[in-house]
Every structure is written in structure tokens, then in C-alpha cells.
């Protein structure tokens, strides 16, 4: 090693080349405090892990992240183009692939820019220095007198020059990216910070094959899985697979392994017909009854819990002093769905003891390890290539469908098996965002300052990604020899944004981790959506209790200047907005993860006076994501986040009965359509002198709280339990 070989060379639409890079990066160590390089680069410090110079002078960037619609492809290309003074079109990007790109674990947590794009910036800067030095040696000219641009290094007078290809002579740049790499001064930037249409866009409007759902391999067959109707349901004997083969022409194989049932057919249409034929004929024994019919909030509170302290300072107990006001409230958010428009899909090929996977998983390396363990294969026998899928918004069915496809490929070696979930599978079997419950107790002093903040919150985990183990993969528990589910010890993501950024002397925040009735994992912003909804709703109610303006109340408790700036900016944006009859404005603020992008939002909501239907008319947001790499990308992510969060807030809730989830399509789980989507306006506070901050999830939490506060101002009812449905907006009973 390293060995390079080509794979499926003439497979029609795709040519896939990959090499095995040798030793895997060491297990993630704590980043060294004095190492200025991004964490992903510290884990993968070799220059050529990130960047290759091609023979024709073009540059290939390798990122361990996958394109999820967040625009990472364009952002990393911009970084390389900038540092190497090369036109953007001369840069190509290779996305996550085991054995080929750096191992960056998951494309998640709004970290693509902070980690991958910054690593590429460093690698490209190191490449520039190496190329200039190579030219200096060859031309016998001091490096300082050379100019690198457009794929060449030339003398300042332009008389002598060498192309990258001439400099490298077929070799690649080598060595580690040094700690003292000199990055290009930001004052000289031409590409970064400029709005750039994403490179993938023209392919998208032409609908060229971009997605894993569109991949077609020679000899490919199609599969569907018949999932159990509900959690824990077990297949009963008596299913006649032979009858299915006779009834539906084109069925190649019926796979029944415990409660894992699937059909493989020679066409997708035949696979769907087999699925439709088999579905009503399978008999299932129901699993343990789901706690339907009881308020989910009370269910969460009653479950056995593991309690952790998130923050404590001062003392939250003790009797209130004279003039102090105590405020108590309980907030709730239900289970939410990722709801990708494209049902999850994967291709798998078992060829000569090697398993190849094409997947829209957010983490090809962890998926490789998980699938290898599920199938009992050595890790190096599994190759996973990331191919974009439809927007996922977190950990959806991508890993599960890949594991299922792998099981089916093993059952039919030598044929690429394409498995796509049906809409019903996606709605019922993706891991949801956990329901959460919040008990808040807070206190104001006589001057209306917050003195006490005590939050107790209940939630299931917000992260059950496969992470290299087989048990979190959906089929693992269905097989005849199941893999026992190992509950995560840590309450991953639950406490995200539970700690107020406001200055409050006495503080206690505790999480109670429970195992709820439904399968859950990471959904865009993890616990931050619920936490910020509860926190900012509470702050808004406390401002009202203190008789203060919502802007001034927040500003009075905030010392972080960047936090104050986004709040003032959204006030400026809306200063001429006057709510009409039955309308209200609501404000909310958060800094995502308390360390990423700052965002303040104002919602304008109209509540129909008779039917009590709330309509979000407009959302204004101010965002500070540090240095802006691509303003268009940032604006697009923020606008989409605002509207998606409004949809979560007003419409969405995963419902279930005792046996199964009742939401199985877009009628039973409605989301915002064009006619309901609010208008949005986003103001970006660019901070070129600050590091770029993850922004893709910043809008989720604040939007919910801003809408709830606007609803309260529009109709007088404070809804503390999401979603905000008309039946919760009955006029308050006034005592006479």
C-alpha cells in the first residue's frame, strides 16, 4: 500500500476509481491546544489526503463530507481556488468515499465549513508553498519573487514559468500540512466571501443523474423491504414465498431472515408489485403496546431516567426575597420527522468477497464499520462511496437502507442490488427527532432582572447513529440472529442550547434521559430546537412578567456583543413593521450550540379570529456566522431553516396508536407547502476577521419560540406545547 486500482471500469454511466490509503487515521485524539489546524486536518494531516494536482493543472479536492444540499462542494472548491489563485471551474471535488477521502466521521452538526472547508484551505495553502518552492529550486529564483496563479508558477516579470504538471512531473504533493502554513491574507480574497452559484446547480436544473436514487449499474436488480408494521412486531410463520414468485413475474428472490423480509426483482416495477402483493399477506405478532392515548409529556416524565447535571451556579432553591416574582411553566415538543422528499436508497454489490456500497449516509467510514460487523466481514472487505441523496436534515433512513441493501447483495452475489424505500417506509421507519419535555422555574428581582433559572428536561437521545457498531441499523434487530440494541450511555445532543447565554446568577439545568416509545436519532439541530423553544418562550414570558420590552429585556441580560448585534439588527429590520388586527410579532434569539452562529428572528403571525388558525406571514432573521464563505449559500440555508422550523412548529407531530406510527404519507404528516410558507428576509452580519461558524441549523430553535410569542401577542394564548394547532388557541376564559 498505497495501492491504486480501478473498479467497475466500464460500468456505463459511472467510472469509479479508488485507492486504499493504507493505515486508517488513529482514533480521534483530543486536539492539541497549540495546534491551530482544524480538527479534521489534525486527524488527517497529509496534504494529499485533501488535495491533488492533476496532470492538466486542475486541482482535485477530497472531502470526507457528503453534499446534503448544504453546498459543501462549492465551499471547499472556493477554498482551494482562493489559496491556489485558480479559477473555480479548474477545481473538482470528490466527496466522501472510504479508502479515498479523509475520514471525517459524519457530515453533521453544521461542521462542514468549520472542519472540511478550513482543512482544504490549509492544505491548499501548504500546496501553494510547496509548488512555489519547487519552482524556486528549478528556476533558481528566490521563492519570494515568484507568483502562483492559474495552474502555473512564474517569475514576477512573467518571462519564465512552469505549470503545476511540469513542476510535479507525475508525482503528487506529499508530506503533512505544517502548523506554520501561511494562509492567504483575507484582504486579498477574490473568490471566498463572494456569492457563487453552487457548481452542482446546472446539473440539478437539467436533472442529470446526481443522486444515489438515479444510479444505474449494469445488471442491476431492484429490491423492496417489507418492514414490520410497528416496533417489536415479529413475523409469524406461514408466508408463502413460492406463491409470491408465481403471482409476480420478475421476482428473483424472496429473502426471509427472522422478521427481515425483502423481495428482489428484475425491475423496480416488479419489486413494487411484489411488495404490494406480499404486504397484506404477511402476518405479524405485535410488539409491546405503544403508550397511545396518554399525553406524551406525561409518558416521558414517568419513564425511568438517567439524570445528568448540565450546568449549576449559585443556588436555585431558597425562598424568594421580598419583591421577587417566581415563574413556572412546562413546555413540550413532540416527535418530529426528517421527512426527506426522496425515500432512502442504496445500492450494494457483493463481488468476489468485496462488498461495495453506494450510499447517501452522512458517514461512510462509520457505516463501513457497522455494515462489516453486521455481515461478519473484515472492514477492508467493505467499500462505501458517498453519493448525494435528497436532503436528509440529519440521521434518517440512509444508513438503514444501506445495511438492508448489503444483506440483500449478500443473498444475490454478483448483481448490484438497488433498494429504495417506499414513502410508507420512510415515514414509519426513519429514526425521529425525540419528543422533549421541559419544566422551567425562574425568578425575577424587584427591578425585573433574572436572578434564578432552573430547567429540568426529559428527552430520549438525539444521536443513535451506527457509529461503527451494527446494533443501531434497522435490520439488526429483525434478523433471525438479532444484534441486541445497545442504548447510548450519553444523552447525545439533548442538552444542546439548554444553557441560556443570558447572565443569570443562579442556575441549574438537568437532563433526564429516557428511552421513549419510538426509535430516534439526530434531527437538524438535535436538542436545540426544543431547548431554544422552551428557553426563549420562557424568556419572553418573563419579559412580559417584568413588564419590559422583549428586545430590552434580552439585551439587559446579554454581554456578548455579537449576540447583542444580531438582536439589534433584527429590531432594525422590523422597526417599520406594525402588526395589523389579529396579528402579533414575536422575537427570539440563540447562538447555535452556544458556540456557532448567532441568530435572532422576528415572526409575524396572523391568527384567524373565528377558526383560530395561525398563519406565519413573515420571518425576519439576522445571522452572524463569522467569516462568510458563500453568502448565497448561507442565506439559502438560513431561509430554508426558518421555513422548515415554522413547519415543525405549526404542523408537525408524529402520531401513533398502540401498534404503529399513524403517519405514513404527506396527508397524515403534513408539512408546509407553497401556500403556507411565510415570506422570509435574512440579514447577514459578515465578520471576515472571525472564524466561519456552522450555520445550517441556527434558525431551527429561535423560529419556534418567535412564532409562539407572536401567536401569544396575536390572540392572547401562550402555547407551550408544540405544534401550535388551532384547537390550542381557544380564547382564554376571562373571569367576570
Amino acid at each position: 500500500m498505497p495501492t491504486r486500482r480501478t473498479f467497475l471500469k466500464d460500468s456505463g454511466r459511472l467510472t469509479i476509481a479508488f485507492c486504499l490509503l493504507g493505515a486508517l487515521p488513529a482514533a480521534a485524539e483530543a486536539p492539541a491546544a497549540d495546534d491551530p489546524r482544524p480538527g479534521s486536518l489534525q486527524d488527517n494531516p497529509r496534504l494529499n489526503a485533501w488535495l491533488e494536482v492533476l496532470a492538466d493543472g486542475r486541482v482535485r479536492v477530497l472531502t470526507g463530507k457528503l453534499e446534503l444540499g448544504q453546498g459543501i462542494t462549492t465551499a471547499v472548491a472556493q477554498m482551494a481556488a482562493e489559496e491556489l489563485n485558480t479559477p473555480l471551474r479548474q477545481v473538482e471535488v470528490l466527496l466522501a468515499e472510504t479508502g479515498r477521502t479523509p475520514d471525517e466521521r459524519y457530515t453533521a452538526g453544521s461542521a462542514s465549513i468549520e472542519q472540511s472547508a478550513l482543512s482544504v484551505r490549509w492544505a491548499a495553502a501548504a500546496a501553494r508553498q510547496q509548488l512555489v518552492q519547487l519552482a524556486a529550486n528549478r528556476l533558481r529564483v528566490p521563492a519570494a519573487q515568484l507568483v502562483l496563479a492559474d495552474g502555473t508558477v512564474r517569475t514576477a516579470d512573467g518571462r519564465r514559468q512552469l505549470t503545476f504538471a511540469e513542476l510535479l512531473g507525475g508525482r503528487q504533493l506529499t508530506g503533512e500540512v505544517p502548523l506554520d502554513t501561511r494562509l492567504k491574507p483575507k484582504s486579498e480574497y477574490q473568490v471566498v466571501g463572494q456569492p457563487r452559484p453552487r457548481a452542482d446547480i446546472e446539473r440539478m436544473v437539467r436533472a442529470e443523474p446526481v443522486y444515489v436514487q438515479d444510479l444505474r449499474l449494469p445488471g442491476m436488480v431492484h429490491a423492496r423491504v417489507l418492514h414490520p408494521p410497528g416496533p417489536g412486531a415479529r413475523l409469524q410463520p406461514g408466508f408463502d414465498a413460492e406463491a409470491l414468485r408465481r403471482a409476480v413475474p420478475g421476482v428473483l428472490q424472496v429473502v426471509v431472515d427472522g422478521s427481515f423480509v425483502a423481495v428482489i426483482a428484475d425491475s423496480e416495477w416488479a419489486a413494487i408489485r411484489a411488495y404490494d402483493w406480499a404486504k397484506p399477506r404477511l402476518r405479524w405478532a405485535a410488539g409491546p403496546a405503544l403508550p397511545a392515548g396518554k399525553p406524551l409529556a406525561e409518558v416521558l416524565r414517568s419513564l425511568p431516567a438517567q439524570t445528568e447535571e448540565v450546568a449549576r451556579q449559585g443556588a436555585v432553591d431558597g425562598a424568594p426575597a421580598a419583591g421577587e416574582k417566581t415563574f413556572r411553566a412546562t413546555y413540550f415538543k413532540p416527535y418530529l420527522m426528517h421527512g426527506s422528499i426522496g425515500p432512502s436508497c442504496a445500492l450494494a454489490l457483493f463481488d468476489k468477497d468485496q462488498l461495495h456500497l453506494w450510499t447517501h449516509s452522512q458517514g461512510v467510514y462509520p457505516l463501513r464499520a457497522s455494515v462489516a460487523k453486521l455481515l461478519g466481514l473484515p472492514e477492508d472487505r467493505v467499500h462505501a462511496k458517498g453519493v448525494p441523496g435528497a436532503g436528509c436534515y440529519g440521521h434518517n433512513g440512509a444508513d438503514d437502507v444501506a445495511a438492508e441493501a448489503a444483506l440483500l447483495a449478500r443473498a444475490l452475489p454478483g448483481r448490484p442490488v438497488r433498494l429504495q424505500w417506499m414513502r410508507d417506509d420512510e415515514h414509519r421507519h426513519e429514526p425521529y427527532g425525540s419528543a422533549m419535555l421541559f419544566d422551567l422555574q425562574a425568578r425575577l428581582d424587584a427591578r425585573g432582572r433574572l436572578t434564578h433559572w432552573h430547567m429540568e428536561l426529559w428527552s430520549d437521545t438525539h444521536s443513535s447513529r451506527p457509529a461503527g457498531q451494527p446494533d443501531k441499523l434497522l435490520p439488526a434487530q429483525l434478523l433471525a440472529r438479532p444484534v441486541a440494541y445497545q442504548r447510548n450511555e450519553l444523552s447525545g445532543g439533548t442538552s444542546r442550547n439548554s444553557e441560556p447565554l443570558y447572565q443569570i446568577p443562579n442556575l441549574l439545568i438537568r437532563t433526564h434521559s429516557v428511552q421513549g416509545p419510538l426509535r430516534v436519532s439526530a434531527l437538524r439541530s438535535l436538542g436545540a430546537f426544543g431547548n431554544v423553544f422552551a428557553l426563549e418562550s420562557g424568556v419572553d414570558e418573563l419579559a412580559q412578567l417584568a413588564g419590559q420590552d422583549p428586545y430590552e429585556f434580552r439585551l439587559a441580560h446579554l454581554t456578548d456583543e455579537r449576540a447583542r448585534a444580531v438582536i439589534k439588527e433584527v429590531r432594525r429590520l422590523t422597526q417599520r413593521v406594525h402588526p395589523g388586527p389579529h396579528e402579533g410579532l414575536g422575537l427570539a434569539f440563540a447562538q447555535y450550540k452556544n458556540k456557532a452562529a448567532y441568530l435572532a428572528v422576528v415572526a409575524r403571525v396572523y391568527v384567524e379570529p373565528e377558526q383560530r388558525v395561525p398563519h406565519v406571514r413573515q420571518l425576519w432573521a439576522a445571522i452572524d456566522a463569522g467569516e462568510v464563505i458563500n453568502p448565497d449559500g448561507l442565506r439559502n440555508q438560513t431561509e430554508g431553516g426558518l421555513i422548515q422550523a415554522a413547519s415543525w412548529t405549526l404542523l408537525e407531530q408524529v402520531r401513533f396508536d398502540e401498534q404503529q406510527v399513524r403517519c405514513h404519507d404527506w396527508e397524515t404528516y403534513p408539512i408546509y407547502r407553497f401556500d403556507e410558507a411565510p415570506r422570509v428576509e435574512v440579514s447577514i452580519l459578515n465578520r471576515p476577521d472571525q472564524p466561519p461558524l456552522g450555520a445550517g441549523e441556527a434558525a431551527q430553535g429561535p423560529t419556534a419560540a418567535a412564532i409562539a410569542s407572536a401567536v401569544q401577542r396575536a390572540c392572547g394564548v401562550r402555547v407551550r406545547e408544540l405544534p401550535i394547532r388551532p384547537e390550542k388557541l381557544a380564547p382564554p376564559i376571562t373571569e367576570t
Binding site: 437539467r206 436533472a207 425515500p343 435528497a390 436532503g391 421555513i643 422548515q644 407547502r673 407553497f674 401556500d675
Partner: protein
């Protein structure tokens, strides 16, 4: 179904499979110039009729004005719903009527976008109907 025939037999994968129930619009095509959901249309019923998919919209290098407008207004994120959005929008603007934003919202309400790029899609359609 027409959707499956397009994707499988004709290898036109631009038309997307989303829900198979006519609820999301990802499979929108034109049948005799009118917007239609290919996941609800029987392939045999389409015999002898003119079907246009997203692949048939551009003239070689030259994008259709609606496609141009989508690029200009960054009217997507993940892009999966985009072919359906573009086909629905193209059918909408062909009568050359100038629709208000509210009318566009109403007319496009059959096409879901989970990334919620709605604002930019509306801007793109407004631009395209002026073209």
C-alpha cells in the same frame, strides 16, 4: 406507472420518485403540454400523447428560461424536488399570464420542498413569467 416506465425503460431518471401517491409533485411531467403527476398516470394511458420530462426542456446548451431563472435565484438546496418544481412552473408560465406571488403559491401548492426553498422558487417563477 408512467413514472416507473420513464425511469426504468427510458432511463430518464430526472423525473423523481417521491411518494407514489400524487402528494409531493416530485414526479411532475407534461402530458400534451399540461402538468401531470407521472406516479398516478398509467403508462398505457399515455400512449399516443406527447410527454415532456425535465430532460426535454433545455435545447442543448441553452437552458429553458425557467431553468435559467432557477439557477439565477438559487431556487433549491438538495435539488431532489427541483425537476418537479421546474416542470410545474414551466406549465404554469406558458400561458404568459402575469401572476402575483399569492397566485403562484396557490398554483404551486402541489409541489413540496422539504428544504423549504419556497421563497427562491417563487422569485424564480416571477422572473420566468416576465421573460
Amino acid at each position: 406507472m408512467l413514472l416507473d416506465a420513464l425511469r426504468e425503460q427510458l432511463h430518464l431518471t430526472g423525473t423523481k420518485k417521491g411518494c407514489d401517491h400524487g402528494q409531493c409533485g416530485a414526479c411532475t411531467v407534461h402530458i400534451d403540454g399540461q402538468s401531470a403527476l407521472s406516479c398516478l398516470t398509467l403508462a398505457v394511458m399515455s400512449e399516443g400523447r406527447a410527454i415532456t420530462t425535465i430532460e426535454g426542456l433545455a435545447r442543448g446548451e441553452e437552458l429553458h428560461p425557467v431553468q435559467e431563472a432557477f439557477v439565477k435565484h438559487d431556487a433549491f438546496q438538495c435539488g431532489y424536488c427541483t425537476p418537479g418544481q421546474i416542470m410545474a412552473a414551466t406549465a404554469l408560465v406558458q400561458d404568459r399570464q402575469q401572476r402575483s406571488a399569492a397566485e403562484i403559491r396557490e398554483a404551486m401548492s402541489g409541489n413540496l420542498c422539504r428544504c423549504a426553498a419556497y421563497a427562491n422558487i417563487i422569485a424564480a417563477i416571477q422572473e420566468a413569467q416576465r421573460a
